[in-house]
Symmetry: C2
Subunit: 175 residues, 2 copies
């Protein structure tokens, strides 16, 4: 490498932006999240992937929340979001709006995220940090995908997991 970083804002926006490669539309459903930092991370991710919407259900913290501001770096101000009390109700509404729900969860019949052909208008369904995606919501999902683990741990942080899967959902392979 030449060893020169690119630090100018305009250059970064111009050169390192995603191009028209992404034709997919993406949104996120956060079901009963407990940790506002995770919510903030997902708002920051949502901006990065050009997400159209975040829906938080149940007790999921949503803006305004100082902890969300910390991890979202303010990007929560750009992403449309709404709160829906019930997770089933939220799933139904999203499907009526044309979103295909895909759970990120270790569920029966779940497939590795790389083997799944994501739909063009996908809502990633993310569950509570401990309890995961509830059955009633899983049953509304067209599929469940998981991130394979190669170590001793059985889970990843939900926001990181969302990032890994979201980039797969929006980016086409170049090969």
């Amino acid at each position: 490498m030449e060893g020169r970083q690119v630090r100018k804002k305009a250059a970064i926006r111009k050169v390192f932006r995603g191009g028209p490669a992404s034709q997919a539309e993406i949104s996120f459903l956060l079901q009963d999240f407990e940790d506002a930092y995770n919510v903030g991370s997902i708002f920051r991710l949502a901006d990065a992937v050009g997400a159209k919407l975040i829906v938080g259900t149940g007790r999921t913290p949503l803006p305004p929340d100082p902890m969300i501001g910390v991890t979202s770096l303010g990007h929560h101000r750009r992403i449309p979001f709404r709160h829906v009390a019930g997770h089933e109700e939220a799933g139904n509404a999203l499907r009526e709006e044309g979103w295909t729900l895909v759970a990120v969860e270790v569920a029966e019949g779940a497939i590795p995220f790389l083997e799944y052909e994501f739909p063009q208008r996908v809502c990633l369904v993310l569950g509570n940090e401990g309890a995961g995606v509830y059955g009633a919501l899983l049953r509304q999902c067209a599929a469940a995908v998981y991130v394979p683990m190669f170590g001793k741990g059985r889970s990843m942080n939900v926001a990181m997991c969302a990032g890994i899967v979201a980039y797969r959902a929006i980016l086409k392979e170049s090969s």
Copy 2:
């Protein structure tokens, strides 16, 4: 979906483990990290991707550190790690050990992570949260890759970025 989660530890370990798909070896170099939470997140990620080594340079916090324990969920105990004072020295040592260094950085000549063919023994070089990867270390890298951004923000969290790139580096395409 059937709507049933898989919660048994043994089943999760057996069914949702990465298989022999990953032939790649991966390690991480953390150059002058400031945030112990980011370090902990990368230790947790390192376990998930079966990483062989973490090298922290300069002021990078390393275990034992209570904040690293929180975000790593204890997985730091499984990943070999070492501290090296100088980042150039660390890069040289890793290359002598057969690692190909790949920076995750918006640098001149950097390419989108999906377009890069990762080597079989790759060390992802991650820079300080604000300053990024220093020039002297970038020049030791075989390549720099970046994660395309589709929103208004110019950066992602370094740990999430590492996760997105690391899974690309270790997993082969199924298609």
